[in-house]
């Protein structure tokens, strides 16, 4: 019984454990609503040192500075969009992990769909070119021959 309890407790502890966070306790805001918004924004912002991590994930000192700025802007009353705009004004769209839809990014956003449509059209055209024309209806002579063969087969079966 005791053993089962230890097992269950261990399992619960393993399941409850979350991955180590880059965000230090001293950075977090006491206001949980603002802190949640800060985390959501931080996940959308690129760490410009490590480049493929969000600032929420990164342990780089510059990412820490940027997280603190995000929280300061939120406390100052900025909207989520204003916080992002603050960093975009300094680092460009590069700092956004999700690039905005605008003149120079439309190819990035729509090229996959264009390729998909193109490939679909190609497959459709290929399939169509391979399908055979419908066969001509049987002539009377063919019908008679078919009838004869069927009868012959039925006779051999009944033997």
């Amino acid at each position: 019984m005791k053993r089962r309890f230890v097992l269950a407790a261990t399992l619960a502890a393993v399941l409850a454990a979350s991955p180590a966070l880059a965000v230090m306790p001293d950075e977090q805001l006491p206001d949980t609503v603002l802190e949640t918004r800060a985390v959501d924004i931080s996940r959308e912002l690129r760490c410009v040192v490590c480049q493929n991590q969000s600032i929420d994930d990164s342990a780089a000192p510059l990412a820490r500075d940027m997280r603190i700025i995000v929280r300061e802007r939120l406390v100052a009353g900025d909207t989520d969009a204003e916080v992002k705009a603050y960093l975009v004004a300094r680092y460009g769209n590069y700092v956004l992990l999700r690039p905005p839809l605008q003149g120079d990014t439309w190819a990035l956003w729509f090229a996959p769909f264009a390729v998909f449509l193109l490939a679909g059209a190609g497959v459709f055209g290929f399939a169509k070119s391979r399908s055979l024309p419908a066969p001509a209806p049987l002539s009377d002579a063919d019908r008679e021959k078919l009838e004869r063969l069927r009868r012959a087969r039925a006779e051999t079966r009944s033997l």
Partner: protein, 178 residues
């Protein structure tokens, strides 16, 4: 008989190959600065050298200058230090320093040992001025024109080659501007 349509995949492949081929030649770590042709953002930084006035962005107006982001902890900065020293010794161009997230004491020790090429140094302990400048790492060097506008950002150490081939021609052009 070959119909024209069979060449479509070949043409598409050629376009993709050229696109990716060009893409591979680009340096993915180079982040274009959005501050090019914009004024240096406002800052007032504590002087690292004792007994002088704070370093402000207005100090950069009226001449072509370099703003060098460095730190005593930055190993790549040591690599470019001789180039900066040579520029300072020949009075080629005034160099201003932004000492990024660094103890002033450590910075002064570093300059005592390897020489001080800087006209003035601002200490950016909090890293805010660096973020306003869109700094992604040290060293980075901004070329500032006479109007106090950022005209170029070099990421990484300024070697002799970088100075001769990239920055010196630009500085000469900016000097010619009125």
């Amino acid at each position: 008989m070959l119909r024209w349509i069979v060449f479509v995949p070949v043409a598409l492949f050629a376009i993709l190959a050229v696109t990716f081929g060009l893409g591979l030649r680009r340096d993915p770590s180079a982040i274009p600065s959005v501050l090019i042709d914009r004024p240096v953002p406002a800052f007032v930084l504590e002087p690292v050298k004792p007994g002088v006035a704070p370093f402000r962005q207005e100090d950069l107006k009226g001449k072509v200058s370099l703003l060098n982001v460095f730190a005593s902890w930055c190993s790549a900065c040591r690599y470019e230090h001789p180039t900066l020293m040579a520029l300072a010794e020949n009075n080629t161009i005034p160099i201003y320093g932004l000492d990024w997230k660094d103890e002033p004491r450590a910075c002064l020790d570093y300059l005592e040992r390897s020489g001080d090429p800087f006209v003035s140094i601002g200490g950016d302990m909090s890293g805010r001025a660096a973020i306003d400048l869109g700094v992604t790492g040290a060293p980075e060097t901004f070329v500032i024109d006479k109007a106090g506008q950022i005209r170029y950002k070099h990421v990484g150490p300024i070697t002799e080659d970088v100075w001769r081939d990239t920055i010196a021609p630009l500085v000469a052009r900016l000097e010619a501007e009125t």
